[in-house]
């Protein structure tokens, strides 16, 4: 056993006895003569500290009086964990709160999602929510399994791209025109492919949808011709590209 441990045990064992006068320093040292040199100074220090402990004791009545004062101070403070206790308490109001809280949260969530979708639908290239709009369109397309409905959706999306292009020109956001024209081309190609797939099973629907797409592209061409004459030269390459895309689409429809 280490000497520190032995001495600590002796100190722990005999401290109360020294304090009460049952043992003396010399009587303890006589029990441990082999440790006397190490033990003596430490026991003397312990005796000094015992005297210190007595001299720093609380004055009579202090604990009792100060307890009353402390309790009064605490009682004058706001209750401990007031809000937590209130939320834990079971009451009719709490029951209503428990039911209403998730409903309100769900309603708010639905409101936020609805607003986001609506804002995204109105966005054009360059807007922060435009990528959300494209994702929503992809999801819509993926969830539409009927070929006729799918083709119709594709045509609507082609219309969206043409309208976005015109809006970009009208708002003067010319830097987005080349990308918008490319996106328009991709969408029109996809619509043409979808129309080919419809033709075998639903000839009547096909004719109606071809007419619709042709109208969309013709209107686009007309609008682009008008805008071209009033737009600055920086917008011309983008507009020309879109005109070529629309003309190719009309040719393909024939």
């Amino acid at each position: 056993m280490k000497i520190e441990r032995q001495i600590e045990q002796i100190i722990n064992t005999y401290s109360p006895a020294i304090s009460s006068g049952d043992e003396t320093l010399e009587s303890i040292l006589a029990m441990y003569p082999q440790l006397a040199n190490e033990l003596r100074p430490r026991l003397e220090a312990v005796i000094f500290l015992q005297q210190v402990r007595l001299s720093v004791a609380t004055r009579p009545g202090f604990i009792h009086d100060s307890r009353k004062y402390l309790e009064a101070q605490i009682k004058s403070m706001p209750p401990l964990g007031y809000w937590r206790n209130l939320l834990r308490r079971s009451s009719p109001q709490r029951l209503v709160f428990n039911i209403l809280a998730p409903v309100i949260v769900l309603l708010l969530l639905a409101l936020v999602i609805n607003n986001t979708v609506l804002t995204a639908r109105l966005s054009i290239p360059g807007d922060p929510l435009f990528s959300t709009k494209l994702v929503i369109e992809d999801v819509q397309l993926a969830l539409t399994f009927n070929q006729v409905d799918k083709t119709d959706l594709q045509i609507q999306q082609s219309r969206e791209r043409t309208l976005e292009f015109i809006e970009l020109v009208m708002e003067g956001d010319y830097q987005y025109l080349p990308n918008a024209a490319a996106r328009m081309e991709t969408e029109i190609d996809a619509s043409l492919h979808a129309l080919n797939n419809v033709s075998k099973n639903e000839p009547a629907s096909q004719i109606a949808m071809v007419t619709e797409l042709r109208d969309i592209l013709s209107n686009e061409l007309f609008m682009l011709d008008v805008l071209k004459s009033t737009s600055p030269t920086t917008a011309q390459p983008g507009i020309n590209l879109a005109i070529q895309v629309a003309q190719s689409g009309i040719l393909a429809l024939r």
């Binding site: 441990r5 001495i7 000094f48 202090f62 100060s66 309790e71």
Partner: protein, 189 residues
């Protein structure tokens, strides 16, 4: 002190539910040790009494967040006391002991004889002078172990050290204290 710990556990639970009397019981059980710890670092009994109250008020405010995981309540109280003591030192910027002549009198209602009051103050100043000559960690281990009567385990938790480290620290601190007592004795002779 296992029985005391179990009792503390019940009282803490009650106090956390807002039972002021249970907290009062905790105060009555631990305030003497906290007071002794504070008074052995301060030269003024009134400051020690004020700070004892402050320790328990702070502990009351921290009770909702207090969990007994690993740290017994007494060790938690001593940590609060040590922080409050540091704040007190910082505020008063006064680490040195004062001469007995500079000290203000205290508690005439309890200690009626002025000669006894002055005698006690001089004695307390001597004690502080000896303790302040020790290294801070020696002061802490000795006051916690022998003046506040904490177990080695509780002392280890308050001082963030292992029980073995506390044992070694105590062993050295007692030897140094004895030497300081000799030095002061010779100096005064």
């Amino acid at each position: 002190m296992p029985g005391k710990l179990d009792n503390d556990h019940e009282l803490i639970k009650k106090a956390q539910r807002g039972d002021v009397t249970a907290f009062g019981d905790l105060y009555e059980s631990h305030a003497p040790a906290i007071f002794r710890y504070l008074f052995s670092h301060l030269d003024n009994q009134m400051d020690a009494e004020d700070l004892t109250g402050e320790v328990f008020l702070k502990a009351w405010r921290s009770l909702p967040k207090y969990t007994e995981r690993g740290v017994p309540f007494l060790a938690f109280l001593f940590k609060v006391a040590r922080n409050i003591l540091v704040d007190h030192y910082r505020k008063n910027n006064n680490l040195e002991t004062k001469d007995p002549e500079e000290m203000d009198g205290y508690s005439a209602e309890v200690i009626s004889e002025p000669i006894e009051l002055v005698g006690n103050q001089i004695e307390h100043q001597k004690i502080l002078r000896v303790l302040h000559r020790l290294r801070t960690d020696y002061q802490s281990v000795l006051t916690l172990r022998f003046i506040s009567e904490l177990s080695p385990e509780e002392t280890a938790q308050v001082m963030n050290r292992s029980v073995g480290a506390i044992r070694v620290l105590q062993h050295r601190a007692l030897a140094v204290l004895r030497k300081e007592l000799d030095d002061i004795g010779q100096h005064e002779d």
